[in-house]
Subunit: 308 residues, 2 copies
């Protein structure tokens, strides 16, 4: 699993939004020997992708983009991957490694395995992103110091796994392999449930009759605005994540709502000790995240200008 300079000669990027575009830009910066081809179903996105040079060649058809690929990465919403892959399968070279960047992995791994019985299939998930989407959202450093989780199906070819590992390392990511099912459980709690909660509370706040929407917006600095950022993420992508990772999301959601009703009871009964105990315990997790470089230590995300 040692990193190699150019694990693939030609990389085809299908879907040129935030992640696909960032891969193209990162390959250009970090793996000079690699040629990238790109395609997006939306003509306006292809045009913008050409202007921003998100891939060396932005093709007019997906068939053209994959024709000479050593690695094909599907960077479309999770719910669209299977259909896009099925259409393209006849045009993809035998031996080309098939991968994706989806936020849920079990259903994708199964679908890609069925569609490509003869190709090596190694799904992956770079745990990186912003609330923005589209061909203007990507940037070359998106994956730096972020984790990329590779989820090889049972019996995956070790050489293919190692090549994809090297590819993501070359883009600046820290790479780990994980069982697809376990990935889905981990991401349900670190990503999917936080998004669901954020979307829901923003929805709740905008539907109130006794508090106006203008009040919600004005006084959002008290905590709410952080949730609105997350709740501004791409709707199609997130709809697909919840539909595809249903079981793990429902398991984790049940645990969260169980814990929330314990907190509700503590508030109702005026049990300050129970509240204080939780509020103290959660600080340790934050410290570890900052210590491990997975977040910025600047207070309030550095929004405010600090002068001693």
């Amino acid at each position: 699993m040692s990193p190699a300079p150019a694990p693939f000669g030609t990389v085809a990027i299908i879907g040129l939004g935030l992640i696909g575009g960032s891969i193209g830009l990162a390959v250009r910066d970090h793996i000079p020997g690699t040629h990238t081809t790109g395609f997006d179903a939306d003509p306006a996105v292809r045009e913008r992708a050409r202007e921003r040079r998100l891939a060396d060649v932005v093709c007019e058809t997906a068939e053209e983009a994959v024709r000479d690929a050593d690695l094909v990465i599907f960077c479309v919403p999770v719910g669209a991957i299977a259909a896009v892959a099925r259409d393209l399968a006849p045009f993809i070279p035998q031996g080309a490694l098939i991968s994706d960047v989806g936020s849920s992995k079990q259903t994708i791994a199964m679908a890609l395995g069925e569609i490509f019985p003869a190709n090596p299939v190694v799904p992956a998930h770079p745990v990186a992103g912003t609330e923005q989407s589209g061909p203007d959202a990507g940037f070359a450093t998106l994956f730096q110091q972020r984790w990329c989780i590779i989820t090889p199906p049972e019996g995956a070819d070790a050489g293919s796994v190692a090549r994809l590992f090297s590819f993501w390392e070359a883009l600046g990511a820290m790479v780990e392999t994980m069982d697809p099912q376990h990935h889905d459980l981990v991401l349900a709690v670190t990503s999917h449930i936080p998004h669901l909660i954020a979307y829901t509370i923003v929805g709740t706040a905008s539907d109130l009759e006794d508090v106006t929407r203008s009040e919600v917006i004005k006084y959002s600095a008290g905590g709410f605005r952080d949730f609105t950022r997350i709740a501004a993420s791409d709707p199609t992508m997130w709809r697909d994540v919840f539909l595809n990772n249903r079981d793990a999301v429902l398991v984790m959601l049940r645990r969260f709502t169980g814990d929330l009703s314990i907190m509700e009871k503590a508030i109702r009964e005026g049990d300050g000790d129970a509240l204080f105990e939780l509020f103290t315990r959660t600080r340790a997790i934050r410290r570890s995240i900052v210590a491990l470089g997975q977040d910025d230590a600047r207070p309030d995300f550095g929004r405010t200008d600090h002068k001693g």
Copy 2:
């Protein structure tokens, strides 16, 4: 309600943490004619406050700090305000305006009204802060372009309300007056429930057996880390907020959990349209918050280094 340069001659700040310290620093920068005195029950905080010059004079006793005050601001946790105020009441000059900075207002307004029947009492709540606390956390620009909500009790003296209004405007805040009960409902949704949710999900994540704490920390960039920032806020302050704003918090919590179970049902039944509809609607709120200057438009809070 026109802003005046120095609405108070001497301002006593009781409690020199994030908010108290920031008030002291902001007064020095913005209201040169005003003298500040400060006190904190913790000797180590007083020492640090002197080093950082959080007030012109940091007194060894609270009695000394309030002795000549025209305005006394209680900047201690909501649950401690009544006890501290009761102890100090005999030492506070008649005519001194009594205020505070607590995140819940109804119980505070009632308590302060009872303790100070002869003084003007005008509670306030600057909607500003970071996840940090203590005498090192404050900074002079904390209130700039942030809202400060003044919640005068029924029959409050208009002149006193106007003076406090001017004081907060001079510190850079945008000021609004509101009924204490309505304040508590608004803040329950824009601040208290978001904090409760964040504390709870961070607690849930740290208690899982099937996902390790190290996994939660490593893959937190998927959304979870934003919740850990909020869940790193001061435990004493937040315990008191929930105990004091119980009714409004429980009302809003019930609406949130109701909405969350609708989302759970949509996921369980694979109702993509319901998910998509919510996820689209919530983007509008984000846009309004950014447009009104209540948050930063930089993607991912400007954490990542963007290169086109």
